[in-house]
């Protein structure tokens, strides 16, 4: 069975697996959590590319998430009345412009300048969201209309689940294509050795910028989806804690692998929910998710810097290779 067939089967299984979930999970609340996993996957996959290939971090990614969400909220409201897809597109365009303004000066240089700039920008966005009246201030914006695709109104748990996962899978597919192309190869090269890659004609800054822009676009899409699913946006969803959470999911899942995104998003989203439910019953565990996030971050970065998925995957691969050569070197 050659590799293309294997990949096809793998993708088919994954899609089928996701597709069957609503048949087994009837609880609306649980289905909602799994819908959030899809949205978080989209958030994470951009950062996954940025951290895993361009070697940069965005510590304010919630800002782009918020730009998408608020663009949808504002432009689909009665004041503007735009079509949801156009509103989402507006969010994407704004995100691209902002990301370019921050990215171009920062990515030219070596060092963590992008991390710091996104940190600052994330806070600025949050403060603006809290205080600018057109964005509803601390109470946010309500009554965001449902998405309508053809004849279907996406207003129940099942349709939300299917739609967000459909978008997530398209984005996963797009990212997979990029990673397995000339672009992906150039990214992997510049991640390993910028000096070698540039000496062979790879324009380092250009690619880093493109990856950053792409990650901003994905985050914006996730934000627009979020707005249509919850029908409500408020600043607290898009603060520094959220930005850190996205980083945690990326790190846990593993960077430099497309599958790391859903793994990390799924693991953390579900873990947070589990902790919350346990915390409701066991008083001591209340509000422990902050400590848990922190511990996971520290331990993961110290012991498994390439993420859960990659570490396990590499381990299995190495096990197979040792078997092949019969144990002896």
């Amino acid at each position: 069975m050659d590799i293309r067939t294997k990949r096809f089967i793998g993708a088919f299984l994954f899609i089928t697996l996701i597709g069957c979930v609503p048949l087994f999970v009837k609880n609306g609340y649980h289905l909602g959590i799994l819908t959030m996993v899809a949205i978080n996957t989209i958030l994470v996959i951009g950062l996954n590319l940025l951290m895993g290939y361009a070697g940069q971090v965005s510590l304010g990614h919630a800002a782009f998430y918020g730009i998408g969400a608020y663009s949808t909220a504002v432009f689909t409201s009665s004041q503007f009345g735009w079509h949801p897809f156009v509103a989402a597109l507006a969010g994407i365009v704004i995100s691209i412009i902002v990301a370019a303004i921050i990215g171009i000066p920062c990515l030219r240089l070596r060092g963590h300048y992008l991390a710091l700039a996104t940190l600052g920008f994330g806070w600025i966005m949050y403060i603006v969201m809290k205080n600018w009246e057109p964005l509803g201030g601390t109470s946010g914006i309500e009554k965001i209309p449902f998405l309508v695709v053809g004849n279907i109104v996406i207003n129940d748990d099942q349709s939300r689940f299917y739609f967000t996962w459909a978008v997530a899978m398209i984005i996963l597919w797009i990212t997979w294509n990029i990673v397995h192309s000339r672009v992906g190869r150039a990214l992997r090269a510049l991640h390993t050795s910028e000096s070698a890659a540039s000496s062979l004609g790879v324009y380092i800054t250009g690619y880093k910028l493109q990856v950053f822009l792409l990650s901003a676009v994905f985050a914006s899409i996730a934000g627009s989806l979020y707005a249509h699913c919850i029908n409500f946006v408020s600043p607290n969803t898009f603060n520094f804690v959220t930005s850190v959470q996205i980083v945690v999911m990326t790190v846990i899942g593993g960077m430099a692998s497309v599958w790391g995104a859903p793994v990390g998003a799924g693991a953390i989203t579900i873990l947070v929910e589990v902790l919350r439910e346990v915390g409701d019953k066991v008083k001591i565990m209340k509000d422990s998710d902050v400590i848990m996030h922190g511990l996971i971050l520290v331990l993961a970065m110290i012991f498994m810097p390439s993420g859960v998925y990659c570490t396990i995957f590499d381990g299995i691969v190495r096990l197979f290779r040792r078997k092949k050569t019969g144990g002896a070197a």
């Binding site: 951290m51 070697g55 940069q56 971090v57 510590l59 303004i101 921050i102 000066p105 920062c106 240089l109 060092g111 963590h112 300048y113 991390a115 710091l116 700039a117 940190l119 600052g120 920008f121 806070w123 600025i124 403060i127 603006v128 809290k130 205080n131 520094f240 850190v244 980083v247 790190v251 509000d287 422990s288 902050v290 400590i291 848990m292 996030h293 922190g294 511990l295 996971i296 971050l297 520290v298 970065m301 110290i302 810097p305």
Partner: protein, 315 residues
């Protein structure tokens, strides 16, 4: 804005900016010695403030969080000591990944550490703001009034500037610390060893400097500085989550002043404090954003901070 109002705002800004300056100095020390960008710096401030509360507040009678009732000066000393120990532990934890991890990993670890510290703090001390007594309460805690001689009198009365006693403490502590640190880095063996490690780890090792001890010392020292600043600001404001925003603004000051530039950090901290105080008059809701906007502008124009920009223009 009238001149006297401007001066008053600048004065308040200097007090607030002193805290930013101390945070920035803490950053600079760790970054200089280890090249780690410590995003948990703000938590040292918080620990200093909360420990001061814990040691000095009257014991709890109604089930709310109480303290041990010690005199304030003793509480401050203990708070600084406790925070320093935590800082040294953090330095020790950071040693292990320091050897092979890249700087991005280190930044993320410090974020994780800050979340752990904040989480534990919210458990031990709760989420509400706590009250810490002022260091001094001369004249029943009255504000200090200064006459400004060179301005025109208003209605026959010379214009006056006000400052809280605690604010004077803050500025004073900042000045003393800056002087002590300058002496430390230039005159003591430990201080010079730290500067050597900052410039060249391998070279420092060859000359006999114990690098891991230097790292722990750098963290411990930064924690102590942060704790002292936190203790000083505690009577004005003390809450489990104060470290986040304060830390980031202090961090912005460190960048604006040039990461690794000691005097730059201090001046930048004061500038940010003053910019915030003045800006708050025009857009009080957005005043927190001021520091970040300055940070962004500086990063875009001159990522190595204002000193580098000034050097460039002189050329």
């Amino acid at each position: 804005m009238s001149t006297i109002d401007l001066l008053q705002n600048l004065l308040f800004g200097i007090a607030q900016g002193s805290i930013y300056a101390l945070i920035a100095v803490g950053f600079t020390i760790i970054f200089s010695a280890t090249e780690i960008v410590n995003l948990a710096q703000g938590e040292f401030i918080m620990l200093g403030a909360m420990f001061t509360f814990w040691f000095s507040a009257p014991p709890s009678i109604d089930g709310s969080v109480g303290g041990m009732g010690l005199p304030i000066y003793m509480a401050v000393i203990l708070a600084v000591a406790a925070t320093s120990i935590i800082g040294v532990i953090m330095g020790w934890v950071m040693m292990r990944p320091l050897k092979k991890a890249n700087s991005t990993t280190m930044i993320i670890i410090t974020i994780g550490a800050s979340m752990i510290i904040q989480g534990v703090a919210s458990h031990v001390w709760g989420k509400d703001a706590v009250k810490v007594q002022e260091f001094t309460k001369f004249n029943d805690g009255a504000m200090v009034i200064m006459n400004v001689p060179f301005l025109k009198p208003i209605d026959g009365v010379p214009p006056q500037l006000f400052l809280q006693q605690q604010q004077i403490w803050i500025i004073g502590i900042m000045l003393i610390l800056v002087i002590l640190l300058t002496l430390f880095f230039n005159l003591t063996m430990a201080g010079k060893a730290m500067r050597a490690t900052a410039m060249n780890k391998v070279g420092a090792k060859l000359v006999g400097v114990n690098v891991s001890r230097t790292v722990m010392l750098a963290f411990g020292l930064s924690a102590a500085i942060g704790a002292l600043g936190g203790a000083a600001i505690a009577p004005i404001y003390a809450q489990y989550d104060m470290g986040g925003l304060l830390g980031l603004k202090g961090f912005a000051a460190a960048i604006v002043g040039g990461l690794g530039n000691f005097p730059g950090s201090v001046i930048a901290g004061l500038i940010l404090g003053m910019a915030e105080a003045v800006g708050a008059n025009y857009a009080s809701n957005y005043k927190d954003a001021i520091s970040f906007v300055i940070l962004l502008i500086v990063l875009i124009i001159s990522p190595n901070g204002l000193p580098a920009l000034l050097k460039r223009r002189r050329k």
